[in-house]
């Protein structure tokens, strides 16, 4: 399964690209690309399952990924942020190279902690897990490093992607009902967040989340 390993590494790499980005558009594009990679992986796995024991679930998941994550959500996000936000994010807590370095550190840390946690021997499962957990935490870290609302939404989506990586690569897919449920939640969450971004923009005339500091203590 060389190709699967390659895909999992590519997905991880796309995270680094994401962290290195500054533009709202490229956040969305990178996310789109990452979702596409995920969809490819799902497709391969789905074909295998379909030919193997005639199970169609993963192909269905693949379809969902393509429609939602590759097509609908990026479109929704572009649409939302087209009107409300700057195109380029300028203010960072730390500069980009440092952020990339931290992301590397996260990946390395995950690699060691996961592999030692599941027995210490390098296995395929360990690699997939380490990669997917890294995706999740780099996505998480991306949320922390970006001040704008878009960064937080994309970060959350990347985390979800990471979880799908884990589900697909390491476990060969979840029960389909669960997958569908997760997608419904995901799309609802993105829509709600989109609505809230509008409201925040209305109230504060910016989507800089770092300015939401009224509630303290």
């Amino acid at each position: 399964m060389e190709i699967m390993q390659l895909l999992s590494v590519l997905i991880l790499l796309s995270c680094f690209v994401l962290v290195a980005n500054k533009r709202t558009k490229s956040y969305i594009r990178t996310f789109q690309a990452q979702s596409a990679l995920l969809a490819i992986a799902a497709f391969i796995l789905g074909m295998e399952n379909l030919s193997g024991h005639g199970a169609i679930e993963i192909m269905f998941v693949c379809l969902l990924i393509v429609t939602l994550k590759v097509y609908y959500i990026p479109k929704l996000l572009s649409h939302t942020f087209a009107n409300v936000d700057y195109k380029v994010e300028k203010n960072f807590f730390y500069n980009i190279p440092l952020l990339v370095l931290v992301s590397c550190a996260i990946a390395v840390f995950n690699y060691f902690s996961i592999s030692s946690a599941i027995g210490g021997k390098p296995t395929e499962l360990g690699m997939y897990l380490a990669n997917s957990v890294s995706v999740i935490f780099i996505g998480f870290f991306f949320m922390i490093s970006r001040k704008k609302a878009i960064g937080q939404i994309v970060g959350l989506l990347v985390m979800e992607n990471g979880i799908f990586v884990a589900a697909l690569f390491a476990s060969g897919g979840m029960p389909v009902l669960v997958d569908v449920g997760i997608f419904i939640d995901l799309i609802t969450a993105v829509i709600i967040m989109g609505i809230m971004v509008f409201k925040i923009n209305e109230e504060l005339e910016t989507t800089d989340i770092n300015k939401l500091k009224r509630l303290r203590g």
Binding site: A117, I118, A167, V178, I182, I192, L212
Partner: protein
């Protein structure tokens, strides 16, 4: 019975949008909640008799003693809150703070919120459970932001982001749980089924399971408001309308703890000892109590203060789960029940106070006994109840907790627990007691007397926490011990 529970909220949501007048919405809400509670009670009688109830509609539904306790709590507290809402929103409508459309929205979201919690508690599938938990966040985020101002917007943004992140981490945990079971799943229908996993816990891959539990602990812990993932909680609880705060604190947090309990049961059975998870849970529990104690000490906003107190009580429950002896888990379960009633009562009283005084600042509220005798007395006794004074119910579970801690040899934890409880009490005393005395200033308007609905609810809840403080029916005890056995095994 499960079908009633699942369908009724959905039907009511439709009905709310058909209703013409506010009073219809109120009546409908109360009726639905009443029916649901009676269904819940019927279900618990079945569960007490049979051990568990298994149904299959579209997917498997499964209710055992553990989930029925939390479920009944959801239904009972919701009933109180919905009755209270009738009085609360009548006032809000009179003052023009809201209109019928927003009222419909509120009720629909409230019932959607309830639906997701009922789903959460009736499914055996960990994946569906996760979906339901995420759905609770999504359903309640607009409820938190219902007042639609800058502060509530900020609170709801923090609420959705932090909880979603947390829940995402929990999902990773559930997936790891799934991965750990790949080798042993024989038939397709049992994927991620808790009962199956629990039965075969010994065969699961322990290394993965540990990792899974950690992610679930952090994830569900975020939702449960355990420090240091609690940060959304004071904001959301203080900005939400008081009935929603009561639901969040009294009900939602329990559901997240329920998730932790399910994960914990599997892990500890697989590992054969509770020490790995125990240390983590106790650390988080004590940290939560400490955080609450420190933050309460100089708090000026009474709703935030109550919110921190919820963090404290979630910490106590976590502490009990961490000790993981039958006695401590039983105490945790009891504490969950007692805290739900007491805290939602306090939030509802706080709602009355807020409606009357228009401020959440402790320094702007004075002379509560004189201006609102019933609310004032209930609130005062509620404070004593929440800080663990007999004869109220929280005392009994805290007593159980302390004994369990010392019995287990956790002297440090026991001592720290008592010290922090005392500190919390000091915090309540120095911050909150002053609102009861003195004379209220001129702003008390006659029209703003709390409605009889609100007073009835408060008095009834005070009755509940007093009676449960000194008496427990046999059936409840049986359910509790069964639930405790489910968690601890054996």
């Amino acid at each position: 019975m499960i079908s009633y529970l699942l369908l009724l909220p959905l039907v009511s949501i439709v009905a709310f949008w058909l209703a013409k007048r506010a009073s219809q919405i109120f009546a409908l809400g109360i009726a639905a909640a009443l029916i649901m509670l009676s269904a819940g009670v019927k279900l618990s009688i079945d569960v007490a008799a049979l051990g568990h109830v298994n149904k299959r509609y579209l997917m498997n539904f499964y209710v055992d003693s553990l989930s029925i306790i939390v479920l009944d709590l959801v239904l009972a507290v919701s009933l109180f809150v919905i009755i209270y809402c009738a009085g609360y929103f009548k006032k809000e409508l009179e003052r023009g703070k809201t209109d019928i459309k927003r009222l419909r929205l509120f009720y629909s979201l409230l019932f959607a919120f309830m639906f997701s919690m009922i789903l959460l508690l009736t499914t055996p599938n960990m994946g569906i459970m996760w979906i339901a938990i995420e759905a609770t966040t999504l359903a309640s985020v607009f409820l938190v932001g219902f007042e639609n101002n800058k502060r509530s917007l900020e609170a709801s943004w923090k609420y959705i982001i932090i909880c979603s992140v947390g829940i995402a981490i929990a999902l990773l945990g559930i997936i790891l749980l799934h991965i750990s079971s790949i080798g042993i799943i024989k038939d397709a229908g049992t994927d991620l089924s808790w009962t199956y996993l629990y039965e075969h816990a010994k065969e699961l891959d322990v290394n993965l399971l540990r990792l899974a539990f950690i992610f679930m602990l952090v994830g569900f812990g975020t939702k449960a408001g355990l420090a240091p993932m609690h940060t959304w909680l004071p904001d959301a609880h203080s900005q939400a309308p008081s009935p929603v705060s009561a639901m969040l604190s009294g009900v939602l947090l329990n559901n997240a703890m329920y998730g932790i309990m399910r994960g914990l049961a599997i892990l500890n059975k697989a590992m054969g000892s509770g020490s790995f998870a125990g240390a983590a849970l106790m650390a988080l529990g004590l940290l939560s109590i400490l955080t609450a104690a420190v933050f309460i000490l100089t708090q000026r906003d009474y709703k935030r203060l109550l919110a921190y107190s919820s963090i404290e009580h979630m910490g106590i429950i976590a502490l009990g789960l961490g000790v993981f002896t039958p006695a401590s888990v039983l105490a945790s379960l009891m504490h969950m029940i007692n805290h739900s009633f007491t805290k939602s009562m306090l939030f509802l009283s706080a709602g009355n106070i807020y409606q009357r005084y228009g401020s959440k600042d402790i320094y702007k509220v004075k002379g509560l006994y004189k201006s609102m005798p019933i609310t004032g007395v209930v609130f005062m006794l509620g404070i004593f109840a929440i800080t663990g004074m007999p004869p109220f119910s929280i005392f009994s579970s805290e007593l159980g907790m302390v004994v369990a801690l010392f019995k287990n040899g956790s002297y440090f934890a026991g001592a720290a627990f008592l010290f922090l409880l005392a500190l919390v009490f000091v915090g309540f005393a120095v911050t909150l007691f002053k609102i009861f005395y003195g004379n209220a200033k001129g702003e008390q308007q006659k029209s703003l007397k709390p409605s009889p609905y609100a007073d009835i609810v408060l008095v009834a809840m005070l009755g509940v926490i007093t009676v449960t403080g000194v008496f427990m029916p046999d059936g409840v005890l049986k359910l509790l011990t069964d639930a405790q056995r489910i968690v601890t095994g054996g």
